[in-house]
């Protein structure tokens, strides 16, 4: 699909590398040396064959093996996603819980409205505002997310704080809202009333009965956002000069660098699949009904 889609884009590889003002003979010579003047099926066949043998191919544009690019970019993306994840999931859920427990009181309004307002702001707006505040005026945090070579865990973390903040802002409202509505529903349910009436302490009711049920939809939402956190951050990666897989795919598509594009998209596909698998697994841990169903 990706392979065919790429073929209908205007322009060709040699032209993309040499630019519009290069001589046609030079473009033809380059296309020939890259092998992109062969029939489509031959190109596709040789790519699939190599891929199945563990060779992701050689980038047309960088004339170097694709695998190290993809592996590095995926590693970077996962680090950023992890930092954002660790920040936003607990705080988002906590925000939702607090809002639900204070249903329709000012604190609820502040969390719901505030969270929703920053969610609708695109990352490039919040990103630039955050850079201006923390990077340019206060100079507390580095602007580019690329840490110096050989940096340790804490240095890397320090460099990742600023780029993960816009992601936090985008996702916080979303997760908090899901957690809040799940909580409200659960608080309102018969089993919660039963639990309260049978004299369980409030804390136990919340932990053992309400939260477990309330978080199910939230987990689904978080799982669907994992793919976005890893593969969809082109804007953040550009703004913070971060070498993630989103911008890798974006530039590969623009440069008609098919081996890079295909390897990148396949990798993201795998990430989505794994994220969904983990979400299903968590779901079953939290929801005994599914587990029981499986045992029956």
């Amino acid at each position: 699909m990706v392979f065919l889609g790429g073929q209908v884009l205007p322009g060709n590889v040699g032209r993309a590398i040499l630019g519009p003002f290069a001589d046609q003979r030079a473009v033809d010579a380059l296309n020939h040396s890259l092998g992109v003047d062969r029939p489509l099926l031959v190109q596709y066949g040789s790519w699939i064959w190599n891929f199945l043998h563990g060779d992701m191919g050689t980038s047309y544009v960088f004339r170097a093996p694709v695998a190290p690019f993809v592996v590095d970019a995926l590693g970077n993306s996962m680090k950023l996603a992890l930092v954002a994840f660790v920040l936003v999931v607990p705080i988002g859920i906590l925000g939702g819980v607090i809002a639900a427990l204070n249903f329709n009181r000012p604190l609820d309004r502040i969390i719901s409205l505030g969270g929703l307002s920053v969610t609708v702001l695109p990352e490039f707006v919040t990103g630039i505002i955050l850079i201006l505040i923390f990077g340019v005026w206060l100079r507390w945090l580095p602007i580019a997310a690329a840490w110096p070579k050989g940096a340790g865990f804490f240095t890397q973390l320090y460099y990742l704080i600023l780029p993960s903040l816009p992601l936090f802002l985008v996702l916080f409202g979303y997760i908090a809202r899901m957690a809040r509505s799940g909580m409200i529903e659960a608080l309102d349910s018969d089993y919660t009333r039963t639990a309260v009436l049978k004299g369980l302490p409030w804390r136990t009711v919340i932990w053992r009965h309400v939260l477990r049920n309330a978080l199910l939809p939230t987990i689904t939402v978080i799982a669907t956002q994992t793919g976005y956190l890893i593969g969809g951050l082109v804007v953040i990666e550009t703004l913070f000069r971060y070498q993630g897989i989103g911008s890798l795919i974006f530039t590969a598509a623009r440069g008609k660098d098919f081996p890079m594009l295909e390897a990148g998209i396949l990798t993201i596909g795998i990430v989505y699949a794994v994220a969904t698998l983990i979400a299903d697994f968590l779901y079953s841990v939290l929801n005994p009904r599914i587990r029981l169903g499986a045992e029956q």
Binding site: L9, P10, G11, N12, G14, R15, A16, I17, L18, G19, P20, F21, A22, D23, Q24, R25, A26, V27, A29, L30, S33, V61, F62, R63, A64, F69, I128, I131, L132, G135, V136, R139, P142, I143, A144, A146, T238, L239, F240, R241, Q243, S247, T251, R254, G255, K256
Partner: protein, 553 residues
């Protein structure tokens, strides 16, 4: 100051008739001192000699730009990401050629004043008709890999670029000028270039103006990123594709050793993060800053702007062979709608020079500045439309690319031509979609009835005069076919003598004003931003950056 004829006579001895003619021009006041220096350097006269002649002719000493800064700095540069593997033969993008130019050098360098300065060549001279140019090479120049640079390396480097089988990006520069095998070694330090036709500006094609033309070892077989070999004042320390590059001083350099200990280049995919990084103190220099994106720092007291006059521009072409713009009067009418003063002051924030619908920018010494500047004149435009039989106006599509200020420029044009009844529909495409395959029949650029295309800076107008305007030009998006023009362009390109170039330039300028196949609205400045205290940085409008004299205060 008075003229010292005794010294002038001494200096004239042994000079060719062409060179003496140039000196006459300076003494008689037919050409200015700036033009004299520039054209003298083109003919291969050394800068000290040109300075002595200038002194004897009563012009005083040339101002020295050299500022000695403190050595030992680490200079940090923000630049665009190299778009492909860095290879002198194929490279075409600003980010990549900036990295390559840090380590590899040219035979001569086209400086910010468009004066050619010797680099790996010590001198050069044409034969009487400009068909053979002889370059004398500098002795004792060492490649970073150890060997001495000699004629074989020069011949191989240039031949590689002129070979159609090599995917050479410089092939479009050399086509019709220099063929494969036409670069000949005379001895270890002398090379002759035998041209297809007389060419008065040939040294520019071996200078930094032709950014592929760096001299690398004759043994080069591809895979430049493995060696980054060259002769330059800096050696590569580390290159990471898509991330950055760093360089250290080359202590074996043939010339003055570089002041900085190290330089660091950080690649950015966009300009905004570069501006933020400069403001946040994480880089010292933004190599190339488009005026529209850089508005935020143009007046920042912590940032210095180096502004180079350049010939970079956006060409607005109109098909001369079909549709309403087939009539030259309609094309002139459209050109008369543009308020160029407003373009220069508003859109370009005063960082541009007015265009007069020919490639002859004010920066070129051969430009005839007495040709009247075209100005906005709606009344005359309406008359021309009436005379062409389209007084009631018409509808048309303007196709262009999303790049720099072009979309905004297109909108301004759309508004201006409304006044004479032309309804322009804008079709603004991604750059890849606009250029397409870049051959006639498969490219929005070359096939659109009206379009705007970006052209980078060139030290001489030869490229602009040929490919986009000659009848058989490969970039002739206007489909302009005019025999008189073809002849004039050929004679301009062949002319060795500045005054002959000026005379032909004047004719070309007038013909293009009459025909207006392409509207040249403005020529924009090349801007480099540096943090306060950074000195000695020397950019060129070809997006090269010389850092060997850079220092931090």
């Amino acid at each position: 100051m008075s003229k010292n004829y005794r010294i002038l006579d001494l200096l004239r001895r042994g000079r060719t008739p062409l060179e003496n003619h140039l000196i006459d021009g300076l003494i008689d006041g037919r050409i200015s001192r700036r033009e004299f220096v520039r054209h003298g350097s083109l003919l291969g006269l050394s800068l000290p000699l040109l300075g002595r002649i200038g002194m004897a002719a009563g012009f005083g000493a040339a101002p020295s730009l050299a500022r000695a800064g403190a050595p030992g700095a680490t200079i940090r540069v923000g630049s665009s990401v190299p778009a492909a593997a860095i290879d002198p033969v194929t490279i075409a993008d600003a980010g990549g050629l900036l990295v390559m130019q840090q380590v590899a050098e040219f035979l001569c360098v086209d400086g910010p004043d468009l004066v050619l300065k010797p680099a790996l060549a010590e001198s050069w001279s044409p034969n009487t008709d400009g068909t053979v140019w002889t370059f004398k090479l500098r002795k004792g120049v060492k490649f970073h890999s150890g060997g001495e640079m000699k004629a074989d390396d020069v011949v191989a480097s240039i031949d590689r670029l002129a070979d159609p089988a090599n995917s050479s990006n410089a092939l479009s520069v050399f086509t019709g000028i220099l063929q494969k095998g036409a670069s000949k070694k005379v001895d270890d330090y002398t090379v002759e270039f035998h041209l297809d036709a007389p060419n008065g500006n040939f040294p520019y094609m071996l200078s930094s103006d032709n950014y592929n033309a760096v001299i690398i070892p004759a043994s080069y077989k591809g895979g430049y990123e493995q060696s980054f070999d060259g002769t330059g004042p800096f050696k590569l320390e580390k290159y990471t594709p898509k991330v950055g590059a760093s360089f250290v001083r080359n202590d074996d350099y043939w010339g003055e050793k570089a002041l900085p200990d190290r330089t660091e280049f950080t690649f950015f995919t966009d300009i905004q993060p570069q501006i933020l990084a400069l403001q946040g103190g994480q880089i010292d220099i933004i190599n190339q800053m488009p005026v529209l994106a850089g508005v935020a720092v143009l007046n920042d007291p912590n940032v210095d702007i180096i502004s180079l006059k350049s010939s970079a521009h956006q060409q607005l072409h109109m098909h001369c062979d079909e549709g309403p713009t087939k009539d030259a009067r309609v094309r002139r009418a459209i050109a008369l709608c543009l308020d160029r003063e407003k373009l220069a002051a508003g859109l370009m924030k005063g960082r541009s020079a007015l265009g007069n619908d020919s490639p002859f920018a004010a920066v070129y010494p051969s430009t005839d500045t007495s040709v009247p500047q075209r100005k906005q004149d709606i009344a005359q435009a309406k008359q021309l439309m009436e005379a062409a039989g389209v007084g009631q106006g018409f509808k048309m599509t303007l196709t262009t690319e999303r790049y720099l200020e072009i979309p905004e420029y297109a909108q301004l044009i759309q508004n201006w031509v409304k006044e004479i009844g032309i309804e322009l529909e804008l079709n603004i495409l991604d750059q890849g979609a606009y250029y397409g395959d870049a051959v006639f029949g498969k490219s929005n650029w070359l096939d659109s009835a009206m379009g705007i295309t970006d052209y980078g800076h060139r030290g001489v107008p030869n490229v602009y005069l040929a490919a986009p305007l000659k009848s058989d030009g490969t970039w002739n998006a206007a489909h302009f076919k005019n025999k008189d023009y073809d002849q004039m362009a050929a004679s301009y390109i062949a002319a060795l003598d500045l005054e002959a170039q000026k005379a032909t330039a004047s004719k070309i300028q007038k013909l293009l004003l009459e025909e207006t196949p392409v509207i040249f609205g403005y020529f924009y400045d090349y801007l480099t931003a540096t943090a306060k205290g950074v000195a000695g940085v020397q950019p060129t409008a070809m997006s090269q950056l010389f850092l060997d004299k850079a220092s931090k205060g």
